[in-house]
């Protein structure tokens, strides 16, 4: 990456009651890039995010945001950050506008014009003067996004952001995030359980398990070509694929192998020559879900499932 990281997590650790929840986590986030943050329940996603935004104190390590160290320059560092932590809980007894005004006052240099601009951006002009208690979950999510954008953050942290949005809303939200990442060069860090969502939204994913970073990859890298091969007899097929140098992974009634398109005709000939009955060979797209389960060892729950 030729650009300098805007956010750096350096050897971040968190110990609660003698248990290491986050263990020596290091990660860099870059401007204009959307990074997905994945991990099984209890892996430490929420804890990591809360340490990033000052809701929790870290036990060790450091967070540097745009050159400012979080522990020593808290206000400076956090002034660059926009946050939506889980469901954006607002003051229900006040109007959407007063909620925004409230948060705007806590940042430097957010004008009334800026509030109006953000309200328009999230499409809430018509309802902004009504009490938040009357809003649907989707509207509250929009308001949550609005409050996070008020001060034009360089770094946006979202914890389960699409929770409660309808499909159209999710799509709009995703396009909007992509837009501000590109146009305003904002670095976005999204945690979500909705893997398909992350897949569509992110440029890069970071996977955490048991408080450790287990994988970090670009989404483009993840798009390797795979083929699904269904043939009988199974043991013979497996043998042949291995001797041909493919890593055969048994899926359903057949195998998934990693292969280039140009290798396919040759493979078909080899199978036929060996007297194997070929039923199907087709491109196989490994979803993020497959990869995720692979990386985190299936559905196994994290050992440190706290709470």
């Amino acid at each position: 990456m030729e650009q300098n990281a805007i956010v750096e997590l350096k050897n971040l650790s968190k110990t609660i009651h003698g248990k290491k929840i986050i263990d020596d986590l290091s990660l860099q986030l870059y401007p204009g890039q959307i990074t997905g943050f994945l991990g099984p329940n209890g892996a430490g996603k929420t804890t990591t995010i809360r340490m990033l935004v000052g809701l929790m104190k870290k036990s060790g390590g450091e967070v540097v945001i745009d050159g400012q160290t979080l522990s020593s320059d808290f206000e400076e560092a956090l002034s660059k950050v926009g946050v939506i932590v889980e469901n954006p809980e607002m003051y229900k007894f006040m109007s959407g506008y007063k909620n925004l005004l409230h948060f705007a006052r806590m940042h430097k240099g957010v004008t009334k014009e800026r509030i109006d601009e953000v309200v328009k951006q999230v499409g809430m002009q018509n309802r902004i003067q009504e009490k938040v208690g009357t809003y649907s979950l989707g509207m509250r999510q929009r308001l949550g996004l609005a409050q996070a954008l008020l001060h034009r953050p360089k770094f946006l942290i979202l914890d389960e952001p699409t929770n409660g949005l309808d499909p159209a809303g999710i799509r709009e939200f995703r396009d909007y995030l992509r837009l501000i990442a590109k146009t305003e060069n904002v670095s976005v860090f999204v945690s979500s359980h909705m893997l398909s969502e992350i897949e569509l939204m992110c440029d890069r994913i970071a996977v955490i398990q048991n408080g450790k970073l287990v994988n970090l990859r670009d989404m483009r890298e993840a798009q390797e070509t795979h083929y699904y091969v269904e043939a009988l007899p199974i043991d013979k097929t497996s043998e042949l694929l291995t001797t041909l140098g493919f890593q055969a992974e048994s899926v359903n009634d057949g195998f998934v192998i990693q292969a280039e398109k140009t290798q396919v005709p040759e493979l078909v000939q080899d199978l036929a020559a060996a007297g194997i009955e070929l039923f199907a060979i087709q491109p196989h797209r490994k979803t993020l879900e497959d990869q995720f389960l692979e990386m985190t060892g299936g559905g196994q729950l994290a050992e440190t499932s706290s709470k």
Partner: protein, 311 residues
């Protein structure tokens, strides 16, 4: 900091409950004046003030003669004797109970203001936790101690506002319900009997009772921010407020009573005929209260600024 205060003030008054409390303050004071007026109508009120004062004077003198009075109690009795003698010698009647001046002389707004301020103090931090808004509030580029300070100052301002509303209502109802009566309040200052204005004394009483408002509200504020439960904070604060006197009486034989919070909460006793303990004076009470206040605030701040928000 001013913006944070604006925020807290806006949130406070966006709640219906706050308006109801302010209205309650006004209604309660009006009805109390009404009840005093009604009860006053039941008395025949023919007794002569001179006979009453003469009786009181003899009682005070008798108790002074027994030589059991010491310290504050003795000083108090001596001052009363001086005032009674002055009244009889110069023909100065005391304030009539049902006069406009006596209502203003001793405004009873402290306890209502205290109860209502405790409700606000208990909820101002705890409600952020129960609403889940604490996450939104603390992910701002503002240090936590500043946020807590803005909340504490808001509580004090609310208490002060209630006291002022209460006093204004008292004055208004005094003018509506009661006639201006004769009589003059007297006090001993520097060994001489001097006249005191009902208004000045009224303000002084307000100030003294504000001490109790501050200390009880600070206690509620501490419990609310430590345990994040406004119900518990209100409950404990009211328990302290109502059971304080009983505890003081139970422990009055021991030296420790001098250092208990309860002994000093109600500063208006220094303006009444009641003496809790011969050895304590107003400055001593203020010093003890200040120590408790600082302890409560240290606890609130250290817990609030260090806590991990996991809710």
């Amino acid at each position: 900091m001013l913006k944070l205060l604006q925020n807290e003030w806006m949130k406070l008054w966006a709640k219906k409950g706050t308006w109801i409390m302010a209205a309650l303050m006004i209604i309660l004071i009006f009805s109390m004046s009404g009840i005093v007026k009604w009860a006053d109508g039941l008395n025949d009120n023919n007794s002569d003030w001179k006979t009453t004062v003469q009786g009181n004077l003899e009682m005070e003198k008798a108790s002074l003669d027994t030589n059991v009075l010491k310290g504050e109690s003795k000083r108090h009795a001596e001052e009363n004797v001086q005032i009674y003698e002055y009244r009889l010698a110069n023909d100065v009647a005391p304030l009539s109970d049902s006069s406009r001046e006596s209502m203003i002389y001793d405004p009873s707004v402290g306890s209502i203001a205290l109860l209502l301020t405790v409700v606000v103090a208990a909820g101002i931090v705890a409600s952020e936790f129960s609403q889940g808004t604490i996450k939104m509030l603390l992910t701002r580029p503002v240090k936590r101690w500043k946020i807590l300070t803005s909340k504490y100052v808001t509580v004090l301002l609310f208490g002060l506002l209630l006291m002022l509303i209460g006093f204004a209502t008292t004055i208004l109802s005094a003018y509506i319900f009661f006639p201006s009566g004769g009589g003059q309040a007297l006090t001993v200052s520097g060994g001489n009997v001097v006249e005191t204005s009902a208004w000045g004394h009224g303000f002084y009483m307000l100030l003294l009772s504000f001490g109790n408002v501050i200390i009880t509200a600070t206690f509620a504020f501490m419990i609310g921010s430590v345990f994040r439960s406004s119900g518990m904070a209100i409950g404990l604060s009211l328990f302290i407020y109502f059971s304080g006197n009983v505890i003081v009486v139970l422990l009055s034989r021991f030296e420790i009573v001098k250092y208990l919070l309860f002994t000093h909460m109600d500063l208006t006793v220094y303006e009444s005929d009641f003496v809790i303990n011969d050895a304590i004076t107003l400055p001593f009470s203020l010093a003890v209260l200040a120590v408790y206040l600082v302890v409560f605030l240290i606890v609130s701040y250290s817990v609030f600024t260090k806590r991990d928000i996991t809710a």
